[in-house]
């Protein structure tokens, strides 16, 4: 069914547009997938849901491919998950081996992306069937766990992350209360009755906030190897990279399934494993191809696996998944266990588009590398007005309302300040987009139990999920977090 969906010319074109845009923004430092998908959210209003989700997914995994190009050639990660690739990829470029580094990165990404899509295809329907038995207490506990995990696995302070999630939940409650039909926190402004719009909030936080941050300090970098040749890795390169790609794929897939498991977590894990297993760990950091192959595979497997919790449980696992969650909602689709049953064309169409998109990416990334290298030299002074303009256009055209521009500006300033004060945007967006679901599950659980909180601990699944959440919250109080991986830092 999925391949018949992607075979439709319109869906095929949007898949290509998505991966092309993804590669482009992955290559352009200062413009991440989060900002780009936010900018394109208003466009999804004008498209059919399947085409828009196929395009948005293409941008996400396409950016992972493109992000490695800047890491290898410029030593600046095009998007944050590619930061590990800088370590050995850039060193390979300095030694004149940018071609094999880019080649193994693209092939590794292709293999991992395809395996992860296969995993998504096998795991998602089973998980969705299991999730159908979830009642409000289980859904509430699951969403609490997802938010706690995102905060736990992100870099920085746990209290700050949770505070942002709480703030996001509050912001999501602004407007008309669906239970009582009473308006909340609208202060007499009718445009707030529908709540703070998803698009202006996300575009402000990720788009305008990003531009303001980038304007403060101009980014500069030196392209080490402007002319790249010999992209095909040698037999020795393949021999050295085979097992790192296999291990990276599995690490990325399993990290990606966990809410909060961002690409950067999987790339660091893969790099650490490869260095530990290597007979020559001293070569890591000086241009070891294993240090590129493993993390790049992990990064791409992770991006495929990230869709599993989103499409089966309705839980966005990171900031970008929260934006994709928002784009599904904009199209009138409710991500969750019923999505596969009610929208099989969408689910299988997206999966098939991932197979096709991965092939497109290899074809786009390798033969056209010369063009991507040229994009590296576009100065931010040209990009900034364009990005700002698309932010304004995006926020305005959703409802043709000027107040949305003001909301976007306010959240742009908030996004800028959050970066300055080291607060992450992902928990805030996550809380904001799932606020209505959390409130609904919470209130229904209380109504079911006659006002007793014990309902969350008297049912086995919700009890387990709540205990894990509590442990994750308490654990850092007894020492340092075991891992710090910046799961939410995906705005690039």
């Amino acid at each position: 069914m999925g391949f018949s969906v992607i075979a439709e010319p319109m869906n095929f074109v949007f898949c290509f547009t998505g991966v092309l845009l993804g590669t482009l923004i992955g290559v352009l430092p200062g413009l991440g997938p989060g900002a780009t998908i936010s900018l394109l959210l208003p466009l999804t209003y004008h498209l059919n849901p399947i085409a828009s989700i196929i395009m948005v997914a293409g941008i996400y995994y396409g950016a992972k491919y493109g992000g490695s190009t800047t890491s290898i050639l410029l030593n600046i990660p095009g998007e944050v998950d590619s930061v590990v690739t800088c370590l050995d990829g850039y060193q390979m470029a300095r030694k004149g081996r940018a071609g094999p580094a880019l080649g193994i990165s693209a092939f590794g990404s292709f293999i991992a992306g395809t395996v992860a899509t296969l995993g998504l295809m096998l795991v998602a329907p089973t998980l969705a069937r299991f999730a159908l038995s979830f009642g409000p207490p289980e859904m509430f506990a699951l969403m609490v766990l997802a938010m706690t995990l995102i905060v736990f696995m992100s870099s920085g302070s746990q209290a700050k992350g949770l505070a942002m999630a709480a703030l996001g939940l509050f912001l999501g409650s602004v407007g008309l209360d669906v239970f009582t039909n009473v308006d909340r926190f609208v202060f007499g402004y009718n445009f707030l009755l529908e709540g703070l719009g998803i698009v202006p909030v996300i575009v402000g936080l990720f788009g305008v906030g990003e531009v303001l941050s980038n304007l403060e300090v101009q980014m500069r970098g030196e392209v080490f190897q402007k002319k790249v040749s010999n992209l095909l890795p040698t037999l020795k390169d393949w021999k050295d990279s085979f097992w790192p790609i296999v291990r990276g794929t599995f690490i990325g897939f399993f990290v990606g399934v966990i809410p909060g498991g961002g690409g950067i977590a999987s790339t660091f894990a893969s790099y650490t494993v490869e260095k530990r297993l290597s007979k020559h760990p001293e070569k890591f950091g000086t241009g070891a191809i294993e240090g590129v192959a493993g993390p790049e595979a992990a990064n791409n497997a992770c991006s495929g696996a990230n869709f599993i919790p989103l499409l089966t449980l309705g839980i966005p696992t990171n900031g970008i998944m929260a934006i994709i969650f928002a784009s599904l909602m904009i199209n009138g689709l409710q991500p969750g266990p019923l999505l596969i049953k009610n929208q099989p064309e969408l689910f299988w169409g997206v999966i098939a588009s991932m197979y096709v998109g991965n092939v497109m990416l290899v074809m786009l990334n390798l033969p056209l590398i010369g063009i991507w290298v040229r994009f590296l030299t576009i100065p931010y002074a040209i990009l900034a007005p364009l990005i700002l303009f698309f932010c304004l256009l995006g926020a305005y055209t959703v409802k043709n309302a000027v107040p949305d521009l003001i909301i976007m500006l306010i959240f742009g300033i908030v996004g800028f300040l959050m970066k300055k004060y080291r607060y992450e945007g992902a928990p805030l967006i996550m809380g904001f987009v799932i606020s209505e679901l959390v409130e609904g599950a919470f209130i229904r659980s209380l109504l079911m139990s006659g006002g007793s909180f014990t309902i969350f601990f008297s049912r086995p699944i919700s009890c387990t999920l709540m205990i894990v959440s509590l442990l994750l919250f308490i654990l850092p109080l007894f020492g340092k977090k075991p891992i710090s991986m910046g799961a939410g830092d995906d705005e690039g």
């Binding site: 009582t180 403060e216 300090v217 004060y421």
Partner: protein, 152 residues
């Protein structure tokens, strides 16, 4: 991060108090029958507790090594950008899409990005006309009409 954490912690504490006070203006209800203010109050209380934790972390944290602004920060560019967005929002439905967009692009390109007057004007005109054509004629999305658009 000490100073910055204390500043942000205090701001969030004040915000949480505002949320709690605002929630109490609505019907909070009870656990058996939650009202419209129940959930916002819960989020306000959680935010309050967490902001206190941030303040404690800030008090325990090491002295700041860096200030709010990065060295040689382009503050002017940031403030001008915010101002130009406000100008855009104010003018869009009054002066129409083409004029406002050209002006916005021109202002940002000239005064934030530092392009030459002619380049900035060219950028502005080209982008606004191209976008107008795409949105009005291809996507058929209505854009605010001003004097310039009424000539078409």
């Amino acid at each position: 991060m000490r100073k910055l954490d204390i500043q942000s912690g205090l701001f969030l504490l004040l915000l949480s108090m505002g949320i709690c006070v605002g929630s109490l203006q609505h019907e909070v209800g009870s656990l058996t029958e939650p009202g419209s203010g129940f959930f916002p109050l819960a989020t306000g209380l959680v935010l309050g507790v967490l902001s206190i934790l941030i303040l404690i972390e800030g008090r325990r944290g090491s002295q700041d090594t860096a200030g709010f602004w990065a060295p040689a920060a382009n503050r002017k560019g940031i403030f001008l950008t915010i101002f130009f967005i406000l100008v855009f929002s104010f003018l869009l439905e009054r002066a129409g899409f083409l004029f406002t967009t050209t002006l916005f692009f021109f202002l940002v390109s000239r005064f934030v990005s530092g392009h030459r007057w002619s380049t900035a004007l060219f950028f502005g005109l080209a982008t606004s006309v191209a976008t107008y054509v795409v949105f009005s004629f291809l996507l058929r999305a209505p854009l605010p009409v001003g004097i310039v658009e009424s000539m078409f």
